[in-house]
Amino acid sequence: MAEPWEEEEGPVKKFMFVNRKAPYGTIYALESLEVVLISAAFDQDVSLVFMDDGVYQLKKGQDTKGIGMKNFSPTYRALEGYDIETLYVEKESMESRGLSADDMIVPVEVLGKDELTSLMEEQDVLLSF
């Protein structure tokens, strides 16, 4: 019997990238984005979540000239072209940091903690950075 991944179409799994870290202080946000871009080539069901300090990754108006690092935030705007259309932001994380959806560099879908929890439960693979 053929394994599921040997079928022509190949399996589609639900992948969730869970971003919980702020940008620049560590490399996780940047390198996580690199994985997300690659994942688009695999025709999987990819969702991208920003919670805890991860919501800071999407803050508008990032200007890194003074710290000598590359500003990678415009890449979030390019995700649509990779068929990664929905970026989920956790409401509680955003609000407790004094931010709103208007502060985000791209349109986001704001989910309450319980909605996000349900979405997490639906996933097959959770990649946390």
Partner: protein, 102 residues
């Protein structure tokens, strides 16, 4: 089966344990490893959170990480189960998926 949430940070420094507890559904499990084991101990400022979690979740702590840090099994909140690496592997296979709260 629901999800296994791993927590590897001290709850006194990071929000990993809170993140796991607030996103774990009934029937899910929390496994505390590495510096996460400090969240499993009796008589701390977070012990009551674990006691409350035990009403709806299974809570585990990795014994080798506990011992390495000078803690013993009887210092763990009642109801928290101590597992070794083989037990960690079993949890990964028993639950549907794993979310690491780093």
């Amino acid at each position: 089966m629901a999800m296994l949430h791993t927590v590897n940070k001290s709850p006194f420094e990071k929000r990993s344990l809170d993140g796991a507890l607030s996103h774990a559904v009934n029937g899910a499990a929390i496994l505390m490893i590495e510096d996460g084991i400090y969240g499993a101990l009796k008589g701390t400022a977070v012990s009551s959170k674990i006691e409350k979690a035990l009403e709806t979740l299974k809570v585990y702590v990795l014994g080798p990480d506990l011992k390495a840090r000078g803690m013993t099994e009887d210092q763990v909140v009642d109801g928290v189960k101590v597992v070794d690496y083989a037990g960690f592997v079993d949890l990964v296979t028993e639950y549907d998926k794993v979310q690491a709260w780093l």
